[in-house]
């Protein structure tokens, strides 16, 4: 068996004595989702894999396709990173220049830019005066995602969060990454939102907390079991219909209804069930007025 596409055995310190990430992490071809609360070390892990953290911060071994991505910089051609903070391009650089520059630096054909721009609906920003600094956060996030689409030669795709992206872009991005994963590329998606795990149809889930790998989940059944640990209390204010319809949705543990002109439905269950609950309530004739939810059993516990 060959070496994994990505192998990290390192300790990353931004401040002396405080580890932002410590331990080992491996990823093969296919989809890997790295999940964890804020400050778990997810972004740090991705940056170490992308080879953008110097050895001053990274103590240990990081291997991507068998090479150290910082010292053996040539391997970066095969690594595509979409950062969470859209800071890759300088603010006074035009969108066209930014994307063309990225394509050229990655050794890709500059003509690919037009294709990607059309795919992601960025045509309006190709105006010669449209600079990166004038774009909204969401559009700059789209530019980050465009980097993944521009990296046709990449073997390792790193996507740091899906925040700031509209649903069509999220779907396009995930479809593209799934197709690349099916072709054997290693795709690592970082998120802190358990709902994104529902989009996973195969591959592995790595749970990080406090800079350490808490758990590696290899199968769908194991994932279901793990997710069932996390319980939310959802409070839904509805009017009319049959509020008890919420109890028929899989993943719901209990339902209590305070009847009145507007009924208050308290549901204990998994957050991923929320959409199904709302659909069931609306299907039974309820008009939904307000939804609140709070985690009562944390997912990211040992």
């Amino acid at each position: 068996m060959g070496a994994p596409a990505v192998l990290v055995k390192a300790r990353v310190e931004y401040l002396p004595g405080i580890a932002a990430f410590e331990g080992s992490f491996e990823a093969e071809g296919g989809f890997t989702i790295v999940i964890g609360p804020n400050g778990a070390g997810k972004t740090t892990l991705l940056h170490a894999i992308a080879g953008i953290l110097s050895p001053y911060y990274v103590k240990g071994d990081v291997r991507v396709l068998g090479a150290n991505p910082y010292r053996e910089y040539w391997v970066k051609k095969y690594v595509a990173l979409a950062r969470q903070e859209p800071s890759t391009f300088d603010y006074w650089c035009t969108v066209e220049t930014a994307l063309t520059l990225y394509a050229l630096l990655k050794g890709e054909d500059a003509a690919l830019v037009r294709e990607v721009v059309e795919e992601l609906g960025l045509q309006d920003y190709m105006h010669p005066f449209s600079k990166v600094g004038t774009l909204s956060f969401g559009t700059r996030r789209k530019l980050e995602v465009a980097k993944l689409f521009l990296s046709k030669s990449a073997r390792v795709y790193l996507l740091d969060e899906l925040i700031g992206l509209d649903p069509p872009t999220v779907n396009k991005t995930l479809d593209y990454l799934r197709s690349r994963a099916e072709e054997g590329a290693c795709v690592i998606l970082v998120t802190h939102d358990p709902r994104h795990l529902q989009m996973m149809t195969g591959g592995r889930v790595v749970v990080l907390k406090g800079g350490r790998v808490l758990r590696v989940i290899e199968s769908r059944s194991e994932l279901e079991k793990y997710l069932s640990r996390s319980l939310y209390e959802m409070i839904i204010v509805v009017e009319g219909g049959d509020p008890r319809a919420a109890g028929k949705v899989p993943g719901v543990e209990s339902v209590s209804v305070e009847a009145g002109a507007r009924s208050v439905v308290r549901v204990r269950g998994r957050l991923e069930s929320l959409n199904s609950i709302l659909e069931a309530l609306m299907g039974s004739g309820c008009r939904v007025h307000r939804v609140e939810y709070d985690e009562i059993t944390p997912l990211f516990e040992e």
């Binding site: 401040l15 992308a50 950062r83 890759t88 300088d90 650089c93 050229l104 630096l105 050794g107 500059a110």
Partner: protein, 271 residues
């Protein structure tokens, strides 16, 4: 999947990169209206100061300021804004290689702008009589243009930014982004400020705008010539304009120092 060896052999060094650097450099260089207006205001202020200090008429003071800052200005093409550190960090290129390309492209651009711009400044000033005819020599134009181009970024970068950062790193002082939030960060910031101010004061005091280099003790002359990128060109400019003879060694010394710093800049780019 292809083997690691075949992947490595196709690692890209884009042939379009050099062209791109030149294009971007040209796009962001000093030839834009805002920079030109700013330079004009700056020259007027400098001329007013020189008029008071030297007792020359305003026109001649303006000529002095034009020659000095005109040549120095040519060495300030902006350092490739589209190449952010974040983008370069993701590029499959040797960071040193790209810095060398950057330095080379900027130097070529500065030479292309520096010589003609100095010549274009000097010729009309000689024609209207604000500069002596001796200013229209190859030696004067070359020295006034070449020294700042080759040595400004390197020497100042080394003196003002690199040395304190090396010191801070050597002392293992943790530093973050933004205002200091920890006493150690405050210490690092203090090191930077004190160092920068001291270097500015020393370099400023050794700039021969208001006095000839020869009036300094020999060891201070050496320090000024080695560590002040403007010393020789300013010395030559003021001696030419005031009609006092410049020492014969100024031009060869300028070339030797320029060549040394240029080689240093290419081998150890410091951006």
């Amino acid at each position: 999947m292809r083997s690691l060896r075949s992947l490595r052999s196709s690692a890209p060094v884009s042939p379009q990169l050099f062209w791109l650097i030149a294009r971007l450099n040209a796009r962001y260089c000093l030839l834009n209206p805002v920079n030109a207006l700013g330079r004009l205001i700056s020259l007027t202020l400098q001329a007013a100061i020189l008029t008071q200090v030297w007792g020359l008429n305003f026109g001649r003071s303006f000529a002095v300021a034009s020659v000095i800052t005109g040549a120095v200005g040519a060495s300030y093409p902006r350092p490739l804004p589209p190449f952010s550190h974040s983008l370069l960090a993701e590029a499959p290129l040797n960071p040193r290689y790209i810095k060398r390309l950057n330095v080379s492209a900027r130097t070529l651009l500065a030479i292309a702008i520096g010589f003609p711009s100095t010549l274009l400044l000097v010729a009309p000033l000689v024609y209207v009589g604000l500069l002596p005819a001796s200013a229209m020599t190859i030696r004067f134009i070359t020295v006034a243009a070449i020294i700042p181009i080759f040595s400004q970024q390197t020497i100042f970068s080394l003196l003002i930014f690199q040395i304190p950062e090396l010191l801070i790193r050597w002392l293992r002082i943790p530093t973050g982004i933004g205002p200091p939030a920890h006493p150690m960060e405050l210490a690092a910031e203090l090191i930077r400020v004190v160092w920068r101010d001291c270097v500015f004061v020393i370099v400023g005091a050794l700039t021969p705008v208001y006095f000839p280099l020869a009036s300094l003790p020999p060891y201070l002359q050496a320090v000024a010539i080695l560590f002040n990128p403007y010393a020789l060109s300013i010395e030559l400019a003021r001696s030419t304009i005031l009609g006092t003879p410049a020492p014969a060694w100024v031009a060869p010394a300028a070339f030797i120092i320029a060549a040394a710093w240029f080689i240093f800049n290419i081998v150890y780019p410091m951006e």
